[in-house]
């Protein structure tokens, strides 16, 4: 090497090493130690009994969901100040990034003490049937929760006579969100049938407003729209039958749903593949789009963004139907700090815990005894609907179908929202039911 050469080489090496150092320092400095919390109430039990750590795995990293989780942690810290809480989160909507990380840990024999999982098939098919979980029936018994949880919820978390997880909240998937100011300005009313929806969409287009805002950068938002359209295009019984093979995927109801959805996508923003659901909601907030169909976490997004003129309605055909999903926390088999985890689950399932969590997260309690006055006006309405509407499980959020099937339906939707080919989508859906082992 010539001296010139060596000089260039060393300069680049130093730059590279410096770059490496900076990146290496980044994550290491992020977890700043939490200041010690002084308990506001005297602990119920001698704190010496509970020491060590509690690792809780979730995908709650932003806005209201992270704040709600933090509220639960506060309750825990007040009760057990000796226990150090490890907040193991993996960012990403609907747990899309978190689930593979959790799978790797569970298969590798390194389970967290408790992890977030959707109620329904995502819990049962993935974790319970294959024997990765401990039942939590004994907690329900010792805390006397049976009477506070609705029977429908207890049925979904049961498998072979045991309860397997503690639900913390209920979200509604079928909500049509709009900008009340824009609707007032043009004298529009939210549509309750598909015909009304398409008529209104025509009017919006004439005013230069994108009728439907969609953000399906992680494809689940399309699957979410599809489940809402499915629920709106058939009776709840037929909808439930889809997940057991009773309703024919090749039948006229599914065809009708796909045709409805194809027509809706034609009214959606053409760049939907580039947006996330909350960016789609931004279009509604700014009055550039008329409506968006998304779960009720939009309410928390609106609150966080200071948007006060939000209007909501039941999407076409789903009045009287509550498409539900629920976040729950379970107890993995061989949880390293089992006692700490059991106390965590007791807080998650308590009235106190759910009242601390849900108003911030923007969801309603899984228990039926929460105080409605703690909640905003949207959520109070949702609490009433939860009591009176027909409850059906959400597809996109793990309640209705096993994850392997949801993945196949996501694949069908990825193609469908770009080519809008009803026949090939219906064939793909029917095939996915067979591949999932549900249909013959």
């Amino acid at each position: 090497m010539s001296t010139n050469n060596i000089k260039t080489f060393s300069i680049f090496s130093i730059l590279l090493i410096a770059a490496l150092l900076f990146t290496a320092c980044g994550p290491a400095t992020t977890p700043t130690p939490e200041p010690p919390v002084t308990p506001t109430t005297p602990p119920d039990e001698p704190p010496d009994d509970f020491t060590g750590t509690l690792e809780v795995f979730s995908w709650w990293t932003t806005g209201g969901e992270a704040a709600g989780l933090e509220n639960l942690f506060e309750l825990y810290k007040n009760k057990f100040p000796q226990v150090e809480i490890i907040n193991a989160t993996v960012a990403g909507g609907a747990g899309f990034e978190a689930k593979p990380a959790l799978t790797a840990r569970m298969l590798g024999g390194d389970p967290p003490d408790s992890f977030q999982v959707h109620m329904g098939q995502e819990l049962t098919e993935t974790w319970v049937v294959d024997g990765f979980m401990d039942p939590v029936t004994f907690i329900f018994e010792s805390e006397g929760w049976d009477q506070y949880y609705p029977q429908g919820v207890l049925d979904i978390i049961s498998y072979e006579g045991e309860y397997w997880t503690v639900p913390v909240n209920i979200h509604r998937a079928n909500v049509l969100w709009f900008n009340q100011e824009v609707f007032d300005q043009y004298g529009w009313t939210p549509p309750s049938t598909f015909d009304e929806f398409f008529a209104l969409a025509e009017e919006m287009q004439a005013e230069g407003i994108t009728p439907l805002a969609l953000g399906d950068v992680g494809i689940w938002a399309s699957t979410h729209l599809f489940e809402v359209v499915l629920a709106g295009s058939m009776s709840p019984d037929k909808y439930n039958g889809l997940w057991t093979g009773k309703t024919d995927w090749n039948g006229p109801e599914v065809k009708q749903a796909l045709e409805n959805m194809a027509r809706m996508i034609e009214y959606a923003n053409p760049d939907h593949a580039a947006l996330s659901w909350d960016q789609a909601n931004d279009l509604v907030i700014q009055g550039r789009a008329g409506m968006t169909i998304m779960g009720d976490w939009v309410d928390a997004d609106n609150l966080a963004k200071g948007f006060e003129h939000s209007g909501w309605a039941h999407p076409p055909g789903t009045d009287g139907i509550f498409v539900a999903l629920s976040d729950t926390f379970g107890l993995p088999l061989n949880a390293p700090h089992r006692d700490n985890a059991i106390e965590w689950l007791k807080i998650v399932g308590s009235k106190e815990g759910q009242e601390a969590f849900n108003p911030v997260k923007g969801s309603i309690c899984a228990r039926s005894d929460c105080n409605p006055n703690l909640f905003g006006s949207y959520l109070q309405g949702a609490m009433q609907d939860w009591e009176s509407h027909t409850i059906v499980p959400s597809l996109a959020h793990g309640a209705a179908a096993p994850e392997s099937w949801v993945a196949l339906i996501n694949d069908v939707m990825t193609s469908f929202v770009t080519n809008l080919n009803v026949a090939s989508a219906q064939a793909g859906l029917a095939q996915s039911c067979i591949d999932a082992g549900i249909c013959q």
């Binding site: 298969l107 993935t126 931004d282 990825t414 193609s415």
Partner: protein, 329 residues
């Protein structure tokens, strides 16, 4: 004398045996394991290694997503290899002109190779971000396009697939000769893939440049001189002397880049994942989702075995070829 050779051989075997054992176990052992899994019933988290047969492969080859993946791999490979080799050769020829600051430029172009594909992917995802349509705010390269009065592009979020339309004259002509199936997006070029090609080319063209530069320096100056004496101009020198002598370098570059493009995962995962309508989906990403999102391990193993076979089709003839040329020497 004989004892000494034996002892040498003994030590040499002793020295390489750890790596032989580790490679046998962790590479070939797990390849064998994956082949077995790909013929098994393993769906769900608990391993189920009972034999199912070729059904996983039958299902894979009938999956429309997999057809799109093969299209994407072919498109990516063709564009990526053409761009890398074209750019790499151009840079090498330019730098070979004994320009000032040669060392600097050589390091500059070679340096992106030191970055991992994940980092490249994240950086290019930002650079080629389509901007926020809600606010109309532009980002990255689109700002540059805007400055020169060009419309912003959608880059890797563009769902367009350029293909022959069945209604066009060409489509009808193809149909009349029984090739109507080509007039289909499955035989088209996904626009979003170009963004991935740009990022991959940025990273790998410097490496190709270094290979060509070494090749150029290996061509004796006498040969060029002789050609010039015979009246060849510079273009003819390159056309008839330099480029033919660089053919082995091109072959190596094709093999190295080709196996990267067949296996590409990290760049796509960091930049665009499956993309709109699977526009940037590749077999490796499909494998990842099948295995770790859908928990379908048997199907995931079938995809990896398919990838292994395609890469082998490229690598094994090359290994045979290079071991032959080695033994000739």
């Amino acid at each position: 004398m004989l004892r000494k050779i034996n002892r040498d051989r003994f030590y040499s075997i002793l020295l390489i045996s750890p790596s032989i054992i580790l490679i046998a176990l962790f590479v070939y052992g797990f390849i064998a394991w994956s082949i077995w899994v790909s013929f098994s019933n393993w769906e769900g988290l608990r391993p189920d290694l009972t034999f199912r047969g070729v059904q996983n492969f039958v299902r894979l080859f009938s999956n429309p997503r997999f057809h799109i993946d093969i299209r994407n791999t072919i498109v990516f490979t063709v564009f990526f290899l053409t761009a890398c080799i074209g750019l790499g050769l151009t840079l090498a020829v330019v730098i070979d002109q004994r320009i000032r600051g040669e060392n600097f430029f050589r390091s500059l172009f070679l340096f992106p190779m030191a970055v991992s594909f994940i980092v490249t992917g994240v950086v290019w995802r930002w650079m080629l971000a389509p901007g926020d349509p809600a606010t109309g705010r532009l980002t990255g390269v689109n700002i540059l396009l805007d400055k020169i009065n060009l419309p912003p592009l959608k880059w890797y979020t563009d769902p367009t697939v350029i293909h022959i339309s069945a209604n066009s004259q060409l489509g009808q002509l193809l149909d009349s000769v029984g090739l109507g199936f080509i007039a289909n997006p499955l035989y088209g070029i996904p626009v979003a893939m170009i963004s991935i090609v740009i990022a991959a080319t940025w990273q790998m063209s410097g490496f190709v440049m270094a290979m060509y530069l070494a090749g150029l320096r290996g061509i004796p100056e006498e040969l060029r001189e002789a050609a010039r004496v015979d009246g060849a101009n510079e273009g003819q020198v390159y056309r008839h002397i330099v480029l033919p002598m660089l053919r082995p370098v091109t072959l190596s570059a094709v093999i190295i880049l080709g196996h990267i493009s067949l296996k590409i995962f990290d760049l796509v995962a960091a930049m665009s994942k499956r993309g709109p309508g699977f526009a940037t989906d590749v077999p490796a990403y499909f494998m990842f989702e099948t295995t770790f999102h859908a928990n379908n391990f048997a199907q995931g193993a079938a995809i990896s075995i398919f990838m292994l076979v395609t890469v082998s089709l490229l690598i094994i003839p090359y290994l045979i070829y290079s071991s032959r040329t080695d033994s000739e020497i």
